[in-house]
Amino acid sequence: MMRSARKLVALGLAAGLVAGCGGGADAGGGQDADASAVAAGGGYTLPQDAPQRFSFGTEASQARVALWDIDVKPDGEGLPDGSGSVEEGEQVYMTQCIACHGLTGTEGPYDRLVATDPWEQWPVNRGIGNYWPYATTLYDYIRRAMPQLTPGSLTADETYAVIAYLLYRNEIVAEDAIMSRETLPAVQMPARGRFVVDDRTGGPTIR
């Protein structure tokens, strides 16, 4: 139930975005561009005798897809088995993250992770606590890109743990929180309602 509600929100956002982007995409295709190169509607024109399918490439098995399908969606789709605690996460953080993000996640030299400053107009000291709208993004990003020098080297348990620790340091979850496939997507992020759809459309109005 919760999942389908989220999905509806996401779909609504998607629909709005697509409408908002339509002007750009249409202009991009250039309906008025060279007729020989551009089909009406903005795409490219396949030669008329082209088949519906060329059958180039090979079909991918489920196992092949699973091997590369590493992303995590806001509803938790893509999260693996496993779990981790704040305490375990502190150990991961202190060995794997501290060199780039500092003792408390605020010092750098690279991106600030801990930021709980509330903001009215501008996000000050942007970090997970005040500028990350989805907790699932942490899993998606850490799994693909962190630690910087050995990306993809953390186990699922370690990844959940360090996320639990970061959410705790950002005052989003309690000290006894356990992150897992079930709990992570349910975390409510303070920045969740901050993001709005691009309303620029071209034309004379500056947005």
Partner: protein, 439 residues
Amino acid sequence: MPPIDGSPLSRRAWLTTTSGLIAAGLLKTQADALRLDASEAPLDVGQTPSPAQTAQATRSTGRPDPMKVPGRIVSEVGSRAPGERPTRYLRAEELSSSSRSPLQDFHGIITPSDLHFERHHAGVPDIRLEDHELLIHGMVDRPMVFRMADLMRYPSISRIHFIECSGNGGGIYSRDRMPTDITVQQIDGLISTSEWTGVPLAWVLREVGVRSGASWLLAEGSDAAGLSRSVPIEKGMDDALLAYGQNGEAIRPEQGYPLRLMLPGWEGNTQVKWLRRIEVTDRPTMTREETSKYTDPLGDGTARQFSFVMDAKSVITFPSYPYVLPDRGWWEIKGLAWTGRGRITRVEVSTDGGRRWVDAELQQPVLPLATVRFRHLWNWDGRETVILSRATDETGYVQPTVHELWEARGERTSYHQNHQRAWRVAGDGAVTFGLGELV
């Protein structure tokens, strides 16, 4: 063969006597000896040339008269002329993840591939053509893997498009920090233009069969950041390109070799390089790059998300800092303009600080979603002034002033700073960045 005045075999005489052999390609190992750069090689070896020889073989620069010595023989890979050393600008204060194109050195609209700007999030991966694969899966009838040979077998197309980083120009947005000693390359070098070749994504999506209800794509790179962005499927079915060619050769590693997603007119980070996976979905993935990174706080407690399209913009590339106009009189103001919404229809130039504007010449053909070169012939009277340019695109959008952008988005937003740029020309001809004079 001319007489050699009885002197021992000089370099010049050697050149003369052996030129036939060299022309025939028989003395390839001596090719370097023909590089007659005066700073590196004396004209003669061990002998003072006669006055006649000197007059014949050198000019006032001390370098040899190129009409008097045979030129270099053929080479497998060309190089720039001696003295032509355009370079990308690297920011030194950090482990650089970006480099900027030398806009001031370019003549047309095409960026030489080795000078195309760079921006990457975990370095440039080392990928071999034969190892690379693209997986397309998700809401499709047939999940498929394509090797490069498969993709290159599809019908192909070529288009000239710019790519611009949405952070371009961010260094000249703050009222509190308007530098004067900054180059156009440092300000706006995160834009480049190439002829891109590849297969339209729509044709490959047709191959896998997109299921109804699909509305988004997730594009993912095979760099160490696995950079990923969600893209509305409309763009994928429209003018998106799976590109493997850049300016007539394979895409450079810094630009995504062997395969990148091209989304003409959209911010650079969405045009995922080293593309390895496309997942067809019914919602955005909300990756780090489209949530906490490439979003635009607006000053009212919200932040703009999925700000894909690059707004119209123009920059004057000449004259610009640190150039010094040596004297008054006729000068051609030159620059580049572009828009992510089709074609540039007009570029205006002001040579009096923005009071009066005149139309600049647009170099034809003006291509959609590509840079266009503009020019304005200017008779400088030698007095101090500020020169500006502003672009208009086919939607009627006019490149705003910085005040207009501040008004619309606040003064501390992070990306898409496309406001009008200005150069101050001092009475002594010295050119500095001049926007600070106007704010």
